[in-house]
Amino acid sequence: MDRIRVALADDHPIVLAGIRTLLTADPEIDLVGEATSGRDALPMIRAAGPDVAVIDVSMPGLNGLELTERVTGECPGTRVLILTVHEDAAYVQPLLKAGARGYLLKRSAADDLLRAVHAVAAGGVYLDPSIAGHALDPSGAAGRAEAAEGGEALSPRETETLRLIAQGFSNKEIARRLDVSVKSVETYKARAAEKLGLRTRAEIIRYAAARGWLDALALRT
């Protein structure tokens, strides 16, 4: 089996040195290039044509996201493994969309870097275990909103209240609009939420968005 050709881009010398030591210790890995900035990294990767490019997200010059896009666009044979300090799942999605095949937190690097490089080189996708859960999270809520479909039918007042709640009005504002008391609004809201199994305002908003109730709002904005 061929040794895995790996290129390394990190602006931090200590980290770079640590990774280099770790990678060179693996007999199956060939370190074919190093860069300390985003701008230097692209020509280096283009020239070396590695199997796996380990890229730090936050680098001066060209940041990790752009670099990933350029590398996946220009070097189809190179798979990108993102190495980052950012634990926010929010960073993951854009990078995965941009073509990254792996996402590894720096603090896990000591233990998991070699495994990640091997996994990506083998054609798989590697996500750091501590963020793997986050990346899948958003789909769950949407599922709940859909599940509420089968609930009991709402009265017109409850529907109206729910719609206004989703549009961001306070109970007092709703009470004024519907010409009822604040207590009544609270009651409508509680009853409607119970019928549909919605527990929070965010869920109500998602339910409303799924119904198209907020289209008018979207037009307005």
Binding site: I14, A17, N171, E203, L214
Partner: protein, 689 residues
């Protein structure tokens, strides 16, 4: 206050003493009026009584005179009757009779003569002549005939001037009857002055004129002008009266006057003689007339006094009113002066907003503050139309000010508005108008507001500076935190990463040196990992890099996820509207506000679920943070020290409010015990140019 007192009291006393004098005079006048009227009335009554007394005295005199004359005549008649029965006439012995008669005449000085006549009227004896003389027929034939006819004594009227006596005499005749046959008629001729003396002696009341007339109305005696009237027939009124009734009153013309009141009595057994007492009506009524004059005079005087009294009281009232008005004016001026001094000292302008007249009147200071164009006279009031007054206000604030004034006029509440005035020299200036409708005796003239205008430019500037300072402080803090967070991530964090990588290499190198070294390396690795996590957490707490790198939505999502995981409270985020980035200060503010709200929820709410909704509208961000916790009594919490179960006042709210103040944002809180709490935050987003 003291100024007004020392100035006001002496003048008031002066007015008072003058007023008292006038009041005294008025009282005297008021008392004099009834006294005058009463005394006039009493005088009239007394005069009338006097007149009645006079009349009654006249009647009494008339009666007395009548009785005296009658009795006198009766006694004469009695004497005569005795003589008629004399023996001298039995035979008759005329000489003896003559002597006897002569004796009688001597005894009665009023007897002018005694005459004896035969039944045919021929005189037989007359004492005025000697017995031998031949005598003619008797005079006064009427009385003689009456005696012959009746056979009873008769008192005749006054006769004509006698042929023998040469005087007007009154005849008393008695029949001389012997054996039932009339032999003679014995007569006595009385001089009328006898009757006159009786009349005079009877004492006619003062001023009254007494008259005695015979049955034919011929005057026999009179207390005045007797010489001319004796034997003359009396006036027609008298004659008519004695024919009409034996006694009574009448009025008619007499010697003494054209209109004389007369009382009269007819004498008994005197052949129709009557006594009359008369007085001119004018004289009789003189006291009454005088008293009437007095009464009239008194009345006129009373009316005069009353008019004077009315005048006095009227003048008094007018003066009092004038004095009071002067005092009021003084007090008003003093109070106005005090107000003006206070307003000047506070550098305030005063304003009178008269919507009814469409005019605004302002003191010089107010006019200057309000930036009115045109002449602003020093120390004088300036007036301008409503449009002019509003026109000086900056266009952005004009509607708000007009609205506030309109509301105050409609509801009568106070108006307190801060607005900008376009200043000719510099930029717009902040001015505050505080005022209200005047409250005079409950009913206020519609459309009027009195206000005070103050210059709040320095305060506004200070406020703006303070806000700017706060904003910059916040910004500096954010920047500093951001720098430290970046430092932690990019430097320290990387170094720790390098450390753990190095430890990993070390682990392989010491693999053969026994388990002791391996454990040590692993322990160091654990330590390095922990440091890495701590650094990461500290950096995120300081400022999440996601907020700068990925935007508000992602940063919030991470925040909520982390928070939820850390505290075991379900957290839910929904982001609505435009996905475009908003200015960094707004993003930071929203992020921090949510952070603080979550801290609050953790501290107070005892919630199971928190829901955050962020809506990005065209010109504003609305953030709603809602929990299903125990909530609290919002009204209770609004008061300081109103802490109490359930839930405590949210201290984090003040931090949120401070942040919002920098961005002109607003916070609305909706909560009630048991239902949970919802924060509604609105932040205006400046449109990207």
């Amino acid at each position: 206050m003291s100024i007004r007192r020392t100035g006001g009291v002496p003048g008031g006393e002066h007015h008072l003493s003058r007023g008292n004098g006038r009041t005294f005079v008025a009282l005297v006048f008021a008392a004099a009026i009834p006294v005058l009227l009463l005394s006039g009335w009493v005088a009239t009554l007394m005069a009338q009584q006097q007149r009645d007394l006079d009349r009654r005295a006249a009647v009494a005199s008339a009666t007395r005179v009548a009785e005296r004359v009658a009795s006198d005549l009766a006694s004469q008649v009695t004497v005569l009757e005795a003589e008629a029965a004399s023996a001298t006439l039995d035979t008759p012995d005329l000489a003896a009779f003559y002597a006897e008669a002569e004796r009688l005449r001597q005894a009665h000085p009023l007897w002018e003569t005694v005459e004896l006549a035969g039944p045919d009227g021929g005189q037989v004896v007359n004492l005025l002549r000697s017995l031998d003389d031949t005598l003619g027929p008797t005079s006064d034939r009427a009385s003689f005939d009456a005696v012959v006819r009746t056979g009873k004594p008769v008192i005749g009227g006054i006769g004509p001037v006698g042929t023998v006596s040469g005087k007007r005499l009154v005849a008393l005749r008695v029949p001389v009857i012997r054996d039932g046959v009339l032999r003679y008629v014995l007569s006595v001729r009385l001089a009328t002055n006898a009757v006159s003396s009786i009349l005079r002696d009877a004492g006619a009341p003062e001023g009254w004129v007494g008259t005695i007339v015979d049955a034919d109305g011929i005057t026999i005696a009179r207390t005045r002008a007797e010489a001319e009237e004796l034997g003359q027939p009396a006036n027609a009124a008298l004659q008519a009266a004695i024919r009409r009734a034996p006694q009574g009153f009448y009025t008619g013309p007499t010697l003494e006057g054209a209109n004389v009141e007369v009382v009269y009595r007819t004498l008994k057994d005197t052949g129709g003689w009557s006594v009359h007492f008369g007085m001119p009506v004018a004289a009789l009524n003189a006291p009454v007339s005088r008293s009437y004059a007095v009464l009239a005079g008194g009345s006129v005087l009373s009316i005069g006094l009353a008019l004077a009294l009315v005048g006095l009281v009227g003048r008094d009232m007018a003066q009092r009113r004038a004095g009071e008005q002067a005092r009021f004016t003084l007090a008003l001026r003093s109070s106005e002066e005090q107000g003006a001094v206070a307003a000047e000292a506070a550098e305030l302008g005063t304003l009178r907003w008269d919507a009814g007249r469409g005019q605004v009147t302002a003191s010089a200071r107010a006019a200057t503050l309000l930036g009115w164009r045109g002449e602003v006279a020093e120390g004088r009031e300036t007036e301008t139309g409503l449009a002019g007054a509003l026109g000086a206000v900056l266009a952005e604030d004009r509607a708000r000010l007009d609205d506030a004034i309109g509301r105050s006029l409609a509801e009568g509440g106070p108006v307190d508005e801060e607005f900008r005035v376009a200043d000719g020299t510099g930029g717009p200036r902040w001015v505050r108008l505080a005022g209200r409708a005047p409250q005079l005796h409950g009913e206020a003239p519609a459309g009027l507001i009195y206000g005070v205008v103050s210059d709040i430019e320095p305060r506004k500037r200070a406020e703006a500076e303070r806000l700017e300072l706060l904003r910059r402080l916040g910004e500096a803090q954010e920047n500093e935190q951001r720098r430290i967070a970046r430092e932690l991530h990019d430097q320290v964090g990387q170094t720790v990463t390098g450390l753990s990588l190095g430890l990993k290499s070390l682990e392989r190198l010491v693999a053969g040196s026994g388990p002791e070294a391996g454990r040590h390396v692993q322990w160091l690795q654990g330590l390095a990992g922990e440091i890495g996590r701590d650094i990461h957490r500290a950096a995120v707490d300081l400022r999440p890099t996601a907020l700068d790198d990925l935007g508000l939505c992602e940063a919030l999502a991470t925040l909520l996820r982390e928070w939820s995981r850390r505290h075991g409270i379900r957290a839910d985020l929904e982001f609505l509207g435009d996905a475009a980035r908003v200015p960094a200060p707004v993003e930071t503010a929203v992020y921090r506000i949510v952070q603080e709200a979550l801290t609050d929820v953790l501290k107070h709410a005892v919630a199971a679920t928190v829901s955050v909704a962020v809506e990005h509208r065209t010109d504003a961000m609305r953030v709603i943070v809602e929990d299903d916790g125990i909530g609290f009594d919002a009204e209770h919490a609004a008061r300081p020290g109103g802490a109490g179960a359930p839930g405590k006042p949210r201290l984090g709210l003040s931090g949120i409010r401070e942040r919002l103040a920098l961005l002109d944002g607003t916070l609305t809180l909706e909560t009630s015990p048991g239902v949970g709490t919802a924060l509604f935050v609105d932040i205006p987003v400046p449109q990207a140019a």
